[in-house]
Every structure is written in structure tokens, then in C-alpha cells.
């Protein structure tokens, strides 16, 4: 077995038993990145030297018995997390020259836990997208191939597409992502890996380049539910520097992965269906329900009647917050500058050149829905519908412990598809957006393949701060599915 094929948990055991060193493990991943990243474009920045220095420090720590949750484990950071001294672009031209003078809380927590950072992963610009096609640093190739059409280049999903592709192709044992409308779970589903969006406030947003502050959730992506549990335990925690960070004790996430679902009540929301959704996704969902029933759970039909309004609500709230957050990019204090004839012209030309088409669209929509005379009709109305979406979840969770749904209404699609009409792209997030609006935890677990041989994920949604149940149910799905299909492009395969 190659070191790059290990799960994060197995690699950690191997390090602790001195079966191999962190340097060997890190070198194996850097070699895989060198071989495959020119094709996949999963990383924007590779920090090889820094990674090897961290690996050597980890080996020294292990030698003196200093074992932390991630000592010596090489992972990748989405390029939305500020990393001190390492360029952080958010996938945008406007942050092309930006080198943060500080470390985000999540990345600092991971470093304190002993992690080795391989580099910064590609993403949709400012996390706005579902295909990684809006990155200013080029598209990312999904390492999976269609059986029938193996030349087609598929998207990894987005916005954490680089993280998902890197983990699936075994370029990293795990990665961080952020989920504002589905940006961890949809790419996890498209790339056949596990992705968790924790409860809002569980992971600090401090030092994460802001998109929509009331919706941004940092979280982990990895190749097993347990690996995500280990990563969440290291990333999460109360942070006084984020005013919305939750002061709620962490759970035993790794332990929860082994917990039985016997006696749990699992809700199946009848509204999680989409026009044109392939029958195989519907069938896999039914299969997932059967798996949980066989594992001893009680299955209950539930209704979340405002589900279908989630996307429209999201496309008011998220652009509104983005238009405010992105006002800081003015070409004066950091980032790109394009000179103009006066200060206002400098702002306008810097932003015109620095922002891509999707970011510009969302900033304009956000500016409009917040503008005088339209605020009540759009933004205030959306906030009220958001309250109803949360109420749907609260009422459902009075009757059930968790919900089971599909993660996305399709498998990975071809690069360039859905680009002609923004709304077609937005529909990718139909099943993931409600959990962001409500702030409840949700995981995507690979559960099967479609007729083309592409992975499909199932989503488990839980109560606020009850990630443990989400991990328990996710792990039960993982055990029953025994998903062992591999992507065509991965470390060790010839290119």
C-alpha cells in the first residue's frame, strides 16, 4: 500500500507506531502533487519547503513523545484561510498579491494540533460558485472519469473544488473547506469523499476571507467520516476574535463514528426532490433509508415546506452580505490596484479588473437588494423566509434526530456546462442551501455510483451543535455503502 492511500486516521496510527516518518509521508504527498497538480490544478500554491520543515518538527515531537491530534499529518488548506507569510488569493485576481501578516484561527488550531500544510487549494472566486470554474487561477479537473466518455473533463464541484479534488486524488490526507451554500458538501459528493459543514459558530471565521458572514461555515473534507471527525475536533472551538463563534463544548466526534443508530429516528423530507433529478439519485436515497432501517433506526416521513424557497432566499441574503464584505477591496490598503484619473476611478477600475463575472454579478445584485427603496421588498422579505426555513428544521427536529437527503441533484458535470445561465449553476445547491440558512450541521457521505461510474453522496442533517449524531448516522451510511470505488486519476496512477 502506498502512503498516499492511507486514511488520515491510519496515517496517524502509523506515525505514532513509527511505521514511517512524517517526512516520508509528506514527501509522498508532495511527489503526488508534483506529478498530478499540473493536470488537476487542485493547488494554487504548494508550500513544499514549509511542509518538510513542519514534518521534521513533527518527527522530532513524536520522538520525544509529544503526540497531538494531527502531529505529522499532511493536509491542504483552502485558499480562503489566511496563512501567515503564505499568499492567500480567495481564488481572485484582486487578492493576487496578498500575503497575510496573520494566521486564521482554524489554521492556527490545526498547526497547534501538529498538522503539516502542503499548500493552498483552488476554489471558486471568493467561494462563489459550484464548479470551480470561476477561479481566477484556472479550472480544477475532477479526478473521476465517466465510464463511457473517459475524455470528458468533469468539474470537481465548488467552491471547495480544489480541496475535494486534492483529497480524492490522494494529494492530501484531508483538507479544509468552507460552506456558504453547499461549498463543502457538493464537491465532496462530486469527488466521492466525505465533507462536513458543522453548526454555524462551531469553527471560527476569523481570518477566513469573508463571503457572506451569516452563512460562512469552515469545515473538513476527507476520505472517511472518522477522518472528518478527527479534523473537526482540531479545527473547532470557541474564539473570542469571532463574535459569532459559539462557546459550546466540543463533542467526542471520533467516538461518535462508532456509535449505533439503533433506536434513532431519521426523518426523510419529502421536499428534497428536483425536476430532472436522475432516478438513480432517488434510488440511492431509498437505499440509504433502507440501510439505516436495517441498522435499527426508525424512519419517519417529515415535511420541510419552505425548502423550495431556500435558493431564492440565499441569492438575496448571500449577495447582500457579499456586497458589503467585498467593499473592502478598494486598491488602497492591500491587493490589486489599477490606477485611475481620480480616487473614485481608481476604486472602480481596480474592482472591475479584480473581480470576475460571477463576483461582479453578485456584488451588483447585493447592492441592489440593499439599496434605498428595495431593501424591504427583497432583503427584509428574504430574512423572514429564512426564519421560516429555520422553523421547518426546528419543527422537524422536535420529532427526529437527523434527516437523510441526497446531497446534490446531479453527479459531476462537464467543465463549461451550466455556464450560460447563472440560475442553472445555482440549482446545484438546492439540497445544501437550507442547512446553511438554518446553521445546522450536515455531512455528505459517498454512497454509490451512477450509471456513468461517478460518485453520488447522501446528506445527513442534524440538530444545532449535535455533530455527534451527524457523524454516527454518516458512519452508519458509510459502513453500509462500503464505498470503495477509486477515481481514475490518483497518486500512483500513470499520467
Amino acid at each position: 500500500m502506498m502512503l498516499t492511500d492511507l486514511t488520515l486516521a491510519a496515517a496517524r496510527s502509523g506515525l505514532r507506531q513509527r511505521a514511517f516518518t512524517s517526512r516520508e509521508l509528506t514527501e509522498a504527498h508532495l511527489a503526488a502533487i508534483e506529478a498530478l497538480n499540473p493536470r488537476l490544478n487542485a493547488f494554487i500554491t504548494v508550500t513544499g519547503e514549509q511542509a518538510l520543515a513542519q514534518a521534521d518538527a513533527a518527527d522530532a515531537a513524536l520522538a520525544r513523545g509529544d503526540e497531538r491530534p494531527l502531529t505529522g499529518v499532511p493536509i491542504a488548506m483552502k485558499d480562503l484561510f489566511c496563512t501567515e507569510g503564505v499568499r492567500t488569493t480567495a481564488g481572485s485576481r484582486i487578492l493576487g498579491p496578498f500575503v497575510p501578516p496573520y494566521e486564521s484561527t482554524v489554521s492556527a488550531n490545526l498547526l497547534r494540533a501538529g498538522a503539516v500544510f502542503l499548500g493552498k487549494t483552488n476554489m471558486d472566486e471568493f467561494a462563489m460558485g459550484s464548479s470551480n470554474m470561476t477561479s481566477a487561477y484556472g479550472a480544477v479537473e475532477n479526478p473521476w472519469k465517466r465510464r463511457q466518455d473517459a475524455d470528458a473533463v468533469l468539474v470537481p464541484g465548488g467552491s471547495s473544488g480544489g480541496s475535494a479534488a486534492a483529497v480524492a486524488a490522494r494529494l492530501a490526507l484531508g483538507a479544509t473547506g468552507t460552506d456558504t451554500g453547499g461549498s463543502i458538501r457538493q464537491p465532496a459528493s462530486f469527488c466521492g469523499i466525505v465533507g462536513l459543514k458543522p453548526t454555524y459558530g462551531r469553527c471560527s471565521r476569523w481570518g477566513v476571507v469573508a463571503f457572506a458572514s451569516s452563512l460562512d461555515h469552515p469545515g473538513p473534507l476527507a476520505r472517511s467520516v472518522e477522518d472528518c471527525a478527527v479534523l473537526l475536533g482540531a479545527m473547532a472551538g470557541h474564539d473570542p476574535k469571532d463574535s459569532t463563534s459559539a462557546d459550546v463544548p466540543l463533542g467526542d466526534y471520533q467516538g461518535a463514528c462508532g456509535r449505533s443508530v439503533k433506536g434513532m429516528r431519521i426523518g426523510v423530507p419529502r421536499e428534497y426532490r428536483a425536476d430532472g433529478m436522475p432516478e438513480e439519485i432517488e434510488a440511492l436515497w431509498r437505499q440509504g433509508v433502507d440501510w439505516l432501517r436495517e441498522a435499527g433506526a426508525e424512519v419517519v416521513d417529515v415535511s420541510l415546506p419552505h425548502t423550495k424557497y431556500g435558493l431564492a432566499t440565499y441569492y438575496i441574503v448571500a449577495p447582500a452580505e457579499a456586497s458589503s464584505n467585498l467593499a473592502r477591496y478598494d486598491g488602497v490598503r492591500f491587493g490589486l490596484r489599477t490606477n485611475g484619473k481620480d480616487l473614485c476611478d481608481l476604486y472602480e477600475r481596480t474592482r472591475a479588473e479584480g473581480f470576475g463575472a460571477e463576483v461582479r454579478r453578485r456584488v451588483l445584485i447585493g447592492t441592489y437588494v440593499l439599496s434605498a427603496g428595495y431593501y424591504d421588498a427583497y432583503y427584509l422579505r428574504a430574512q423572514k423566509v429564512r426564519a421560516l426555513i429555520l422553523r421547518d428544521f426546528t419543527e422537524a427536529f422536535a420529532r427526529v434526530d437527523a434527516l437523510l437527503t441526497p446531497t446534490a441533484p446531479s453527479a459531476a458535470f462537464v467543465q463549461g456546462e451550466k455556464m450560460d445561465d447563472p440560475i442553472k449553476m445555482y440549482l446545484n445547491d438546492l439540497f445544501t442551501v437550507p442547512a446553511d440558512l438554518a446553521g445546522v450541521p450536515a455531512i455528505s457521505v459517498p454512497a454509490g455510483l451512477d450509471a456513468n461510474g461517478l460518485p453520488i453522496g447522501l446528506q445527513v442533517i442534524g440538530k444545532p451543535f449535535d455533530e455527534e449524531t451527524v457523524f454516527a448516522v454518516g458512519a452508519a451510511i458509510e459502513r453500509a455503502a462500503s464505498f470503495d470505488a477509486l477515481p481514475t486519476i490518483r497518486a500512483g496512477t500513470a499520467q
Binding site: P97, F98, P101, Y102, Y200, S213, S214, L215, P240, S243, T244, A246, D247, H306, A312, T313, Y315, I316, A327, G331, V332, R333, F334, G335, R337, G340, K341, D342, L343, C344, D345, L346, E348, R349, R351, A352, F355, R360, R361, V363, L364, I365, T367, Y368, S371, Y374, R381, A382, Q383, K384, V385, R386, A387, L388, L390, D421, P422, D436, A438, G439
Partner: protein, 95 residues
């Protein structure tokens, strides 16, 4: 509500993004497409519903009103596109 070209221009000015005249028709059509789709929310009965500003389940916290950070002038200025000494430089604003 459908945006006319003048409104698209006004929004772009509010957002401080330069838009060429040639780009206006396409932007107008994209924005109207999105706004038209969003109008499905008008079908929801929101009578008596309190708006939800965010998903955080807590009141904002208070902290002591003390200086707990700072003295990082060089770091703050490190990424400036243009600086002179301890200042950010912008085009002349006052004639």
C-alpha cells in the same frame, strides 16, 4: 421589477465597479433573470414573521473595553499597493 439600463449603471456606481457601456445590455439581462427568479418569494406568507439576521444562536457577547491588540503598523502597511513611510498613498483628492 425590471431593471432598465440607467438603473444597472446606477447600481454599478453604488458598487464602485467600472462597467463599459457595451457590457450594460448583457448585465441587464443577467440581473433581470436573477431578480425575476427571486420573485418566487412573493408567494410566501410572511405575515407576522420576525426576520432572521443570522444562524448564530446567541446574543452578541460583551468584552472589557480595553486595548488587547495593536502596534502592528508594519504588518498593516505590508500589503499596501503604494505607501510613503507610514501612509497609504492614493491619488490627490483635494485640489
Amino acid at each position: 421589477m425590471s431593471l432598465d439600463p440607467a438603473t444597472v449603471r446606477r447600481i454599478a456606481t453604488l458598487a464602485r465597479i467600472h462597467v463599459d457601456d457595451a457590457e450594460i445590455p448583457q448585465l441587464q439581462s443577467e440581473l433581470n433573470g436573477i431578480l425575476g427568479w427571486i420573485e418566487q418569494l412573493n408567494a410566501v406568507n410572511i405575515e407576522g414573521v420576525e426576520p432572521l439576521t443570522g444562524a448564530a444562536r446567541m446574543a452578541l457577547k460583551m468584552r472589557e473595553d480595553v486595548v488587547n491588540d495593536g502596534g502592528a503598523q508594519d504588518k498593516v502597511l505590508a500589503n499596501a499597493p503604494e505607501r510613503i513611510g507610514a501612509y497609504f498613498v492614493v491619488p490627490k483628492v483635494v485640489e
